[in-house]
Subunit: 423 residues, 2 copies
Amino acid sequence: MDAIDVLRTKRDGGRLTPEQIRWIIAAYTDGSVPDEQMSALLMAVFFRGMSGDELAVWTQAMIDSGERKDLSSLGRPTADKHSTGGVGDKITLPLAPLVAACGVAVPQLSGRGLGHTGGTLDKLEAIPGWRADVHEEAYLRQLREVGAVICAAGNDLAPADKKLYALRDVTGTVESIPLIASSIMSKKIAEGADALVLDVKTGSGAFMKDVEASRELARTMVGLGEAAGVRTVALVTAMDRPLGRSAGNAVEVAESVEVLAGGGPADVVELTLALAREMLAGAGRSDVDPADALADGRAMDVWRRMITAQGGDPDAALPRPRETHVVTAPASGTLTRLDAFALGVAAWRLGAGRARKEDAVSAAAGVVWTAGVGERVTAGQPLIELHTDDPDRIPRAIEALEGSIGVDTEDELLPLVVDRIGA
Amino acid sequence: MDAIDVLRTKRDGGRLTPEQIRWIIAAYTDGSVPDEQMSALLMAVFFRGMSGDELAVWTQAMIDSGERKDLSSLGRPTADKHSTGGVGDKITLPLAPLVAACGVAVPQLSGRGLGHTGGTLDKLEAIPGWRADVHEEAYLRQLREVGAVICAAGNDLAPADKKLYALRDVTGTVESIPLIASSIMSKKIAEGADALVLDVKTGSGAFMKDVEASRELARTMVGLGEAAGVRTVALVTAMDRPLGRSAGNAVEVAESVEVLAGGGPADVVELTLALAREMLAGAGRSDVDPADALADGRAMDVWRRMITAQGGDPDAALPRPRETHVVTAPASGTLTRLDAFALGVAAWRLGAGRARKEDAVSAAAGVVWTAGVGERVTAGQPLIELHTDDPDRIPRAIEALEGSIGVDTEDELLPLVVDRIGA
């Protein structure tokens, strides 16, 4: 096998053979194909795409670079969810304990945030004592005893993806549907769940701003999941405005706890239940209604046990910011625009997210808003509260919000669930 | 400046600014932009191309990575020629001394062969004692005293190209007209000649098999030359059959000497004179007829002095091969096909060329044919003689020739000079 042949075949619009794909993924992972050849191939894939067959082999080769976990010893069905990332998207926090409370184990290997969308692990780390690292044995024990675990993925989970993702990040080859789909699905399939629900965000605050591209990504990922024997469904959901009433770390934990307590913002509750129903259906438990487990406190019980199992104190006070700043409503009327991207950037600039992988995040940083789109506001009322530990960050956060608030404008919003894509 | 911005701009079909181009070429040359980012950019250029303005800045940035030579101290006009490479293309050998004999200095910085086309330096090194390396001072002295020098380019000549070429070679980004044109022209412009004639080969034995693509490459290079203030003309010439009657190293030197002695194959003489007339015209000496300098022995005199100045003995016997093998004509009739690519591959496999840069070549290896296309042959007559130092190489050379010879077939040949492209 020769990397230049593989490169030229893809560059010229030909199809790669399964042998070529398996060889180049393995050779790149072990270092015998260098970065400069792989980055040229990734750019050729950006322009030429991949056929469904090519992509299925490519994704399988990424899975085979590590280990596909076997969760059959748990003795109960398993399901997981993946979101492509949005602003205020804390759904995993209430969702995992909720689904576990309904009898389906949730093995969620998660990541950290980069850029304007937050990371699930960053949010949970706002809870005093909570640890993202769970070793293999404790992971299985927690799944068995608590039913849900949200923790950092180990290095044995699709190591090819780790290397490819770092390379794509610096070579302008992130925005490619087959590369995005194979990156997400290689990790999610390797995780070993029976069923998978994908929350593909669409709109200004999402990675994919365009509904049609989001649908295509959803269809591509559902195809890859089914090809690997995982029951997979995708919901394409709105990210033109943020989810809930907060974006950040501690603020999103607090909001998640409200949802688990039976309250919380309506959109977060609605989406959590919609995704829970899909996960339960995928795991063969469509007979169970997750709304009951939320109402009767079973989901909250699992949450408390899940946090405790990873060293966290579910009753501890969450970090508070050193500085807050209030942005008021610019006019009276109906709030018709609250731009997700702008709020995500503001939270990021306040310290909730990181610009580079090695940056630390601030647990207390974030943004809280007192009204959601569709609600009435009065000129001058406090609308957005900025939280930060560093007052110097406030001016640039305010700058990010410019033009993000609309009262009585003609903005048309997406429905919360735009589409459902099954096999 | 940020490499990812540059990459994304080109990837998405935007135009790079002059500042972006200058920055990325300089940063790649000094190592601050790594190979994996540049190879992704080169692949994006492969797909998106470059505008004329972008390419002129890109080429100038490559020139500026080193030094553009100043030959004004010579006190006489200068002209050079570049060929995109063909089989049996020994034209530089008689051409440089011929043009020098007509009063125009020829500063030819040349390269080595890779693949099925030979390299000028490899051919000249078949002459006992001849050295390709000439240091700066001796180079200028030889240009002043002899009028012609053919030698290896130093490391100060467009170092960006050296690095880019090595990268393109392993990343499937060689076959891109803007990248080919900027690679050739950055070196040729940096060489400092007043006028430049490009011999753009077209046909099976050429790098560009297709006449239209060859014309586009020619137009692109002429535009770059003129933009840099070098009078530039391109001839698009036939490489569907090989040039002359030999392909290899010593065999091509012998044929070149025949031409300088007033004999030699008609096509080699015709192309040498056509290119000489263009070089002389470009250098402001269209009043001189190079045919006279060939006929009266002046070109041969310059050749002898040029070889001697670089340590060679123009009277020494050339290396002879240890083994020869004769391929006979398959039928009687008119020779209508003698495929350039096949003969080039045969010569290469016999040891005349190299597969990798670090390989050595055999001076005695090559192929000689007794008839050219359009001539009559008789079944069984010796037609192609294979020369090698290693008899084990003969079977694969014979294999390369399969289907390459046609007698009374319908093949349509290109005219020797297909097109002339000026500013």
